[in-house]
Symmetry: C2
Subunit: 214 residues, 2 copies
DNA sequence: GCTGTATGTTGGCAACGATAACATTATACC
DNA sequence: GGTATAATGTTATCGTTGCCAACATACAGC
């Protein structure tokens, strides 16, 4: 399947994406070179352009692949006990970003990955395209945040603000961490503590509801 | 001052940095080209290398300039009433990042700007070098966060975690906004929520890692 | 087998980063 | 003022990369 059969590679796009996942961490987004990937794949310098329009298109495909991995990581992190879902997901999210910082930065960079707007077929003739990986991953995350908020406060539909705040918080933690932006006098923050604490943000609308999660 | 006097430009570094501030927003970090900046400055393509070791060095200088602008924006945003400092600073921080998204991304990118470790002279004989713009900006922000937390709870020295959490929240909001990653429509951030909630985090750890730089 | 399409190769161009060798201006020092 | 020296800018050049055009090869349906 994956062996090269002479002239034709067999599955060059997947091979390039796999190499790209390694390269973006070792070389960074700017240092990633399609020519180098092609050579590493044992293929000529122009071969990638048969599968990807240009470099940006390849980077978009890489980011898409990243959202697929994130989605699977989040799904795998759902704990048996409903009450632990947010800390568990938060840690999984953080672990994913920390294990692939450059990819995470690429995924969240503007103009790289467009989160599609649901299954409304943009092209009239096309089938109702199912949501892409970015939407599936972010939607799944938002659903878990919303479900937990509803469980804590007892409302069926949580406020958008609480989910947004929780996500902003965890995203901010992730970015500060992967960008190594905590050089001030105080040492390394207690990330475990912070990651485990952010569910408390949910209870803003109802301050007297104990918020003692455990 | 800024006119070209024939062979010598006069103040090429400042001119290049000024052009770079525009270029990084219009072209993005990857699209920014030293050659193009040189041409735009009316100077040969190799001239920038007299002032900046390489492209990364120029980007670092750009980021440094960005921290200077951020520092000034934060200082200008300090309100007369102490109780409003957090919302005011939060808004200023957000406004800065939203007005210069690519620059902000560059400033917070890893390996671009090294935040110096304070005034402890690295070389024994050297004078106690004053902190650079990144440190001054971030320290000022942390001080304001800490002061506000202390004001609310009534403790002189707040915990590092509370400032870290508040900053993570702000930074996360900023990044989500910059990267247009917010599928949820979300208006003005709830600064009161930010101010009221995060000090609660502080009672968990020993507050011996002080923030007061001076 | 023949033909059309998908896939990969070769050659080449332009832009860019970076360096070396050279030219010109500013500055310090007498 | 005059000169040595450093600072600053220019020209020429190399290596890498993105990207395109023209060509070559493999595969699939008939």
């Amino acid at each position: 399947m994956s062996g090269k059969k002479g002239y034709h590679h067999g599955n060059l796009p997947e091979t390039l994406l796999g190499l790209g996942l390694e390269a973006i961490e070792s070389e960074g987004r700017e240092g990633l070179s399609l020519r180098a990937l092609a050579e590493r794949a044992g293929v000529s310098k122009a071969a990638p352009y048969r599968h990807f329009a240009d470099r940006d298109d390849f980077l978009s495909a890489l980011a898409n692949e990243g959202y697929r991995l994130l989605y699977e990581a989040l799904r795998a992190a759902v704990p048996p006990r409903e009450s632990e879902i947010l800390p568990s997901l938060g840690r999984a999210y953080l672990a994913f970003a920390l294990s692939r910082p450059s990819l995470y930065r690429l995924m969240t960079a503007p103009g790289v990955c467009v989160v599609d707007q649901g299954s409304a077929a943009s092209v009239p003739g096309a089938p109702p395209s199912e949501p892409g990986w970015p939407r599936r991953a972010l939607l799944f995350l938002a659903e878990c945040l919303a479900r937990d908020a509803a469980r804590q406060v007892g409302e069926p539909v949580p406020s958008a603000d609480s989910a947004a705040a929780a996500w902003a918080y965890i995203h901010g933690l992730v970015m500060l961490r992967i960008d190594e932006l905590f050089p001030l006098d105080y040492g390394e923050p207690d990330w475990e503590f912070l990651a485990g604490t952010f569910p408390r943000l949910q209870s803003r609308r109802d301050p007297d509801s104990g918020l003692t999660g455990s």
